[in-house]
């Protein structure tokens, strides 16, 4: 029955019970059989499968480029037209590039380029080199080309390139890498400030970098290669943020100081391994310690190889390779998908997975991934809040874990998952659903879980408000006024919870 409480409210569990009790009756066996007969008597023909969005015409094998699907077809068509026009005009296109769109050649607006000249696009453009190689350029992209004997080679400088080749062999050079398209094929190359991404769209491409060789095939994830920084920033101090975020529930033990439920600890450690290209795996976030795409490398070490557990350097499926944290420059920004950069002092304001900062404000992530890490300052807006060594970490408005904090106030998670974890101070709060923060051993209260799940864990003090109260080694455990189990206490009782706490000594 519904039991009204003194404050004129009902207990959730009674509402739940009432809902269960008033659920519509299930389908009876005979009605189920009758319905089955009715359904199977009327099964008709099946619809044909939906046509794929991008079909591959027999004569154009490039159309199925997943990113910017029309680009390659446009490039083919446009460059064929350019070559034809050039030939009609008496040009020798064999060793000349003909450009369409808006390009500059060695800084001057033009449409024809010779080997060695830099072709830069000021709008989406296309360039035909001879009759067998076409390059689609996005605005801001530039490259040049040259010959080694009869062999054409492209030298890519910046931006996004869609390279289409119908010749037997094409060499493409970048910063610290060489790609060899073994035969007719298509290759997408995206050069950003700190990283280059290579993806084979058609045909196989061998990529040489850092003494390694990788074969890229269609369907493989992009190969991400860290670029050599133009100006190596001085070494930053490197943050020492607290523990990693958690989507786990807090308490489970009794009478013990709980361990933090942080599967991924952050640390802007100095232990940064030399940079290595890292293929984007497309898997779940296993972010590197102090490392993320687009971030500047430290002066003392090469960019960091990702190691599991840590800040969300490049956790998303679109993410890039890690770079070391701790410099002084602003970290890289990622508009839509990838992880932000790392910075010794400055923020990464826009990336999904925010940047990491040793001293300054970390990046914000308004949409999806982990916030930045900061040694001293907060990341107020990211979904998964930032991690902080000393100051206030970020808050998570809707979904993921709040920030983690070494000493200060951790982040809050507004709606769903775990609050922040705290080494010594006050842990984070989880507004609606999951676990509150955990508190290591300080004198503060553990996190609160506003509505549903477990509260935080506290070494000494109580968790006054969570549904499933916190656990306390020495103090008063949390109270649960609505639904779940109370806290556990080594010495004290949990007097008010529905399912009371466990008292170690009382």
């Amino acid at each position: 029955m519904l039991r009204r409480r003194p404050d004129n409210t009902f207990e959730y569990r009674d509402i739940e019970r009432a809902l269960y009790a008033h659920a519509p009756r299930p389908l009876s066996a005979d009605r189920r059989d009758a319905l089955r007969s009715r359904v199977f008597a009327n099964l008709g023909a099946q619809d044909a499968p939906a046509r794929p969005l991008f079909a591959r015409p027999a004569a154009e094998r490039w159309v199925a480029i997943p990113v910017g699907a029309g680009i390659a077809a446009t490039v083919i068509a446009a460059t064929n037209y350019l070559i034809e026009q050039d030939r009609t005009a008496g040009g020798d296109s064999a060793r000349t590039a003909v450009a369409g769109g808006s390009v500059t050649v060695d800084g001057v607006a033009g449409a024809r380029a010779r080997a060695g000249q830099v072709i830069a696009a000021t709008s989406p453009s296309w360039v035909a080199i001879g009759e067998t190689v076409s390059v689609g350029l996005e605005a801001g992209s530039s490259f040049s080309f040259g010959y080694s004997g009869d062999r054409l080679a492209l030298l890519l400088n910046s931006g996004n390139h869609h390279i289409l080749s119908t010749q037997a062999f094409l060499e493409v050079h970048g910063d610290g890498w060489t790609a060899r398209m073994a035969g007719p094929g298509a290759l997408d190359v995206s050069i950003r400030q700190w990283m280059t991404s290579l993806q084979a769209i058609e045909g196989e491409t061998l990529v040489y970098f850092n003494g390694e060789v990788r074969t890229l095939r269609p369907g493989d994830p992009p190969l991400l290669i860290l670029n050599t920084p133009a100006d190596t920033p001085p070494s930053g101090p490197g943050g020492s943020p607290g523990q990693g975020g958690s989507n786990q529930q807090g308490p489970s033990g009794s009478g013990q100081q709980p361990s933090q439920s942080s599967p991924a600890g952050d640390s802007a450690t100095d232990d940064r391994s030399p940079g290595k290209p890292i293929p984007a795996s497309g898997g779940p976030a296993n972010p590197p310690a102090g490392a993320s795409e687009g971030g500047p490398a430290t002066s003392s070490s090469a960019p960091g190889q990702a190691t599991p557990g840590g800040d969300s350097g490049y956790g998303s499926e679109n993410s890039g390779a890690g770079a070391g944290a701790g410099g002084d420059s602003s970290p890289g920004n990622s508009g839509e998908s990838s992880a932000g950069g790392n910075s010794g002092e400055n923020a990464n304001p826009n990336s999904n997975a925010g940047g990491n900062s040793a001293d300054g404000t970390p990046g914000y992530s308004d949409q999806s991934n982990a916030g930045g890490n900061s040694a001293e300052n907060a990341n107020p807006n990211s979904n998964a809040g930032g991690n902080n060594g000393d100051g206030s970490p970020g808050n998570s408005g809707e979904s993921n874990a709040g920030g983690n904090n070494g000493e200060g106030t951790p982040g809050n998670s507004g709606e769903s998952n775990a609050g922040g974890n705290n080494g010594e101070g006050t842990p984070g709060n989880s507004g609606e659903s999951n676990a509150g923060g955990n508190n290591g051993d300080g004198g503060s209260s553990p996190g609160n879980s506003g509505e549903s799940n477990a509260g935080g864990n506290s070494g000494e003090n109580a968790n006054p408000n969570s549904n499933a109260g916190g656990n306390s080694a020495d103090g008063t455990p949390g109270n649960s006024d609505q639904s779940n189990a109370g806290g556990n206490s080594g010495e004290n009782a949990n007097p008010d919870s529905n399912a009371g706490g466990n008292g170690g000594n009382k």
Partner: protein, 194 residues
Amino acid sequence: MQESVSLHGLRESEGRHAALLDQLAARAAEGDRAAFEEIYNLLVDDLYAYVRGQVRNDTVAEDLVANVFLKAWRSARGYRSDSSSFRRWIFSIARNEVRDHWRTAHRNLPLADFDLSDDVPISAGSDAADARRVIQAALTSLNEEQRQVVLLRYFGNKSHEEIAEILGKREGAVRAQLMRALRQMRKVMGDAET
């Protein structure tokens, strides 16, 4: 510990279930009626409970569930059988079917028409009709997303994880949604009883 073990077991079981549904869906997409009948056996009760909670009576619910299966069969080749989301896919058909039903009936939502079971009184001293009225009023006060979650949870006996799978949301978001729904219902029920 026991709970975590059983939860783990439940998730494993649900994973196997999703894989089985995918296999059956792949066969059904090739016109295999026996496979489709297995799908029917696996899902008809869940779909009926889900639909029945949103329409006026058993007959309408059965009509809609039949339509759901017929549409699923007709569109079976459109389902990506490696996506482990068949349940979500077919529930989305059911959701649209219910919407179409109420749209056709020139009604926005079946708010006042929850036809609740009258087996159990919910309040000592109040009659069943009053109890149902209170529950109905509380359900009516929910927005559509909240109502979907509540229906799946309490009328369909789905776990949070299953609801998340069906609705394509995160499990944490489902928990939060459910808790907000209960809070809203508590408020409305308190007001109604006052």
